[in-house]
Amino acid sequence: MPMRCGVLRYDLHVFLVIVFGTIPIKIWRRTTKNITNNVTLSTEDLLSSLVSEIENIGKIIYPKTNLSTIGLARVIDSYLTNNDVTQFTEIQTQIAPMLFQAYTTIPQVSQVSYISRNGLLFSYITKLNTSFSVFANSSSGEDYTWYTQTVDQLTGRLNGNAKKSQRYTDWFQDVQGNCTTAFVGTSLGGEDNENLFHRVVSLNSKKGAVSLGFPVKTFTGVLNRLNLHGGELYMWNKDGTLLVRQGYSLNASFFFSNGSTCFGKESKFQAFCSVLEVSGVPLSYTLVFPNKDRGLSIENASMYLLIVTMFLGLCWPLGFVVFMLQAARRDMHMRVTLINQMEATQQAERKSMNKSQAFASASHDIRGSLAGITGLIDLCREEVRPGCELETSLDQVNACTKDLVALLNSVLDMSKVESGKMQLEEEEFNLAKLLEDVIDFFHPMAMKKGVDVVLDLHDGSVFKFSNVRGDRGKMKQILNNLVSNAVKFTVNGHISIRALAQKPSSNSTVFLVSDPKRNASMFSKCKGIPMEMRKSVFENYVQVRETAQGQQGTGLGLGIVQSLVRLMGGEIRIIDKAMGEKGTCFHFNVLLTTLECSVSDMKVRYDIEAGGDCISTPNLGLRITTLLGGGINIRNLSPRLNNFLGSSPKHDGSRVVLLLKDEERRRVTEKYIKSLEIKVTVVEKWEHLNHALERLFRFSPQSSMGRAECSLRSRELPLIGMDGKSQIPRMRSKSFSTVVLLMIDAKTGPFSELNDIVEQFRRGLHHGISCRVVWINAPPNACENERGDINCSKPLHGPRLNRVLKMLPEFGGNEPIETPSERESFINSARTGQKPIGNPEDEQGTSKPSDDENILNGKRVLVVDDDHIPSLVATRNLKKIGVSEVKQCNSGKEAVRLVSEWLTQREQQGSIDMLPFDYIFMDCQMPEMDGYEATREIRKVERKYGVHIPIIAVSGHDPCSKEARETIEAGMDAFLEKPLNQDQLCKVMRELESKI
């Protein structure tokens, strides 16, 4: 196909070449023709104009010679008839004045003469601009002589001496006869032989003739001034005397022979012959033009033009063809490359597709095999003797398979994310709780490595918006991944997770920034992520080699985390740390909707930052920091008063003394407690505890009690509880006793000594001050005493810290908030590494059933589902919450029939007060008639009777999906996700009940 296209295209090219090539030739033809025409025209024009010019000259130059001559002759004749003049003296005295008169008056005349019959002559002649007289004073005979004598210029009288002059007889004899002629002849005057146009008129009386002469020179001078445009002019009289020859461009030879004129010339020319009469003298002339020459030059020019046009007409198409050929070759080359590339791409796509398919099926197969292995392990375990080595090996194998399954799951997650099938599952959860759970989970693992995991809730904003709606599972996955990475890669130092909520913008959204800080050590043993690797860290299958040594993993984790964060509307990045700080800080934010009444339906954006934080503290043994009264007070107080707490008379309220091992934890906890406006004393080493306590409580706080109350009472704590149940009560306005809360990490020093210090301190306390101790990581049973001390083996942060703080009177707790059973679970959960207490599920599990048990007490419900298993489960669920009668039916049609039958029956009985069912649980997708249609039908039937049975849609779709909206559009009242979940069921039912 491309080849044929090419051929067609070449045809087109040839055609174009011919078309464009012929155009210049045509133009050339037309121009040469035009030029030739123009040239001929202009030559003709030139010729005729020259001829007319010459004619004009002939006419104008001596216009009235004839008349002047005749006039003169008449005057002389009339004089002669009256007087007889025969003698020369008479002529000289009587005729000569008349002649002189004529000589002076007639323009351009150069000779005026009177010739008598007998040969007497008198004439005036201009010679060399002077006037002479030539005369013959005796009649013709033997001593006939001519004399030349100068003349007085004014009078015409002869003066000077008369000289004999040569006698010219060539035309004189002819003139002596009675004739009137005109001819060209020499001047009478002498040697120079100047030619004159002679005009001779004989007198009527036959006594003589008068002659006037005009110079030929003047005439030839005018002719010579003509521009002949390269031609030549020849002029001669009838005797064959050449008068004028002008122009020598042609180098033609010119001669007369046998009375005809001949031109000799090598090249061709054009000649024009004519006769011109000048003062009565006929003159022949010829104009010669180089005709042939001109034509030749035009031909030459047109030849050049043709060559140029041929060149243009043929060469540029040639060039064009060459260019096109090159282009075609390039085109072909590119086509070939494109085809190759396309094939390669397709192949690659195919390969990739095959690969992912194979990948998917392989992972399924692997999963199957793994399941098989675990099953077999279980079988083996049944038969194995407990406690033997084989059993431990089996357990290890089991653990390995679990790892493999987890790995497989992450791979599958990845492909799910890649194919865009990952979707958010919205549910309500407590974010603070989630954070705590995650950290608790990793805490023991990290502690094993000597790394502390600190939850830094910063300003407590997370508590304000801790009840959120979002994808809990994915949120947890993100946190798990980041924190586990942190734990995995941190050799030394601590990991801190900071979380805070923020409103992202004015349109009622709230951000929560939180930051797991993944970190490193102060002793520079740790490895951060190198700058250049930061970008690729989020790519799949990438592990930073330097840090990954000795660590396992597929490198999928952060890639998935990034996808998940983006899915939740946030962004994750690595934050630059300040100089001198080691480690890496990951920061991410996500958008979650808050459920607080005050900010209901707000989106909360949670920024979580993960990173290492190494703060080098001055090496002080004891650092006492404090905060009085509240933010307002602080501003008013002078720094001096703040400085030394121990002696401050303003010391009042409760106080927390912290003795914690990890520095970061100390800092975070201190900051947090301070933000609650509780005074904090931080002790850095256990040896300083005693000293610090002594200094703090040497003075009795009683004296300043009153003032303290005022300052505290006037303000409300900015803290809102983390959730409905554990909300910390507002500060009590009545007076309370001071409580000192000691938080002591037992690992900071020998426990017995610490215990002694505490006991000693207790004994020395003033009346009215009570003391509570929270031991962290204390040996079990070591501090079980009647004073309500608490032993906590979990890190104190997040909600747990809040609960501990509730023991303070400011938050209403005189009693330790933890009940013995809770304390028990505190310890238990810590010991087994399981979930800590206070898990919302647990609470629901114990408290809710009692409320829910009878939520639908005595109700009658219709369950519509084509599949009897879900129907059975639903029935059971409903019975569990008090439904007295459950009717099952397996199609939409059946349901409609049941409802309408019941209603008509009732109508016949006259009462429709009682509904056929209190609720209908409707499956959406059923054969024959689906849930939507059934609902519409039921609604139609109901309208007749003016009743409304609540219908709850039950479907496998997401509660937020299109289908879920459709159910409401179809007229259903609520939506439940399949499979049925008791909590959800109760929630929806409660909502519905409250509506009714």
Binding site: G375, V405, D842, P979
Partner: protein
């Protein structure tokens, strides 16, 4: 075997089912629905599920072996299987059904065949496991012990 050991085994076994993703929290829901008034509820529902699924899988195999596959027949079967498996918490069967349905929508016969195999595999796996589970429970009951309640929160 000692009763305590048996109880521990049961607990571990159940836990492993969750960890492997064979079962999900729906199964726990089911267990919660079981009480004195209805002591065999779980096994009842599950055996019902087995019966149904056997039938459905049989039907599906037949439908897919036809020369011209009628996807309008296939899809409701898969839907039903999906519904019932999700009701008892057989998570992996449910997931496989989801994929199966997407192939049905694409009318991809080959994909459907593959998925059927997948579903069958998952089904037999869960069947096998649940049967083992019930056996363990029966053993405990037979030796006069209580079946330990599973914790939530997986």
């Amino acid at each position: 075997m000692e009763l305590v050991q048996m109880q521990k085994n049961l607990q571990d076994y159940t836990k492993s089912l969750f960890l492997e993703g064979i079962l999900d929290s729906q199964f726990l829901q089911l267990q919660q629905l079981q009480d004195e008034s209805n002591p065999d509820f779980v096994s009842q529902v599950v055996s019902l599920f087995f019966q149904d699924s056997d039938r459905i899988l049989n039907d599906l195999s037949l439908s897919l072996d036809q020369q011209v596959v009628d996807f309008k027949k296939v899809d409701p079967h898969v839907h039903q299987l999906k519904g019932s498996s999700s009701s008892i918490g057989a998570q992996r069967v449910k997931n496989a059904c989801v994929v199966f349905r997407s192939f049905c929508e694409q009318q991809n016969v080959e994909g459907c065949h593959r998925c059927l195999q997948q579903v069958k595999q998952e089904y037999y796996l869960v069947k096998n496991r649940l049967e083992t589970l019930f056996k363990l429970e029966q053993q405990i009951v037979a030796s006069g012990g209580m079946i330990p309640a599973m914790e939530l929160g997986f």
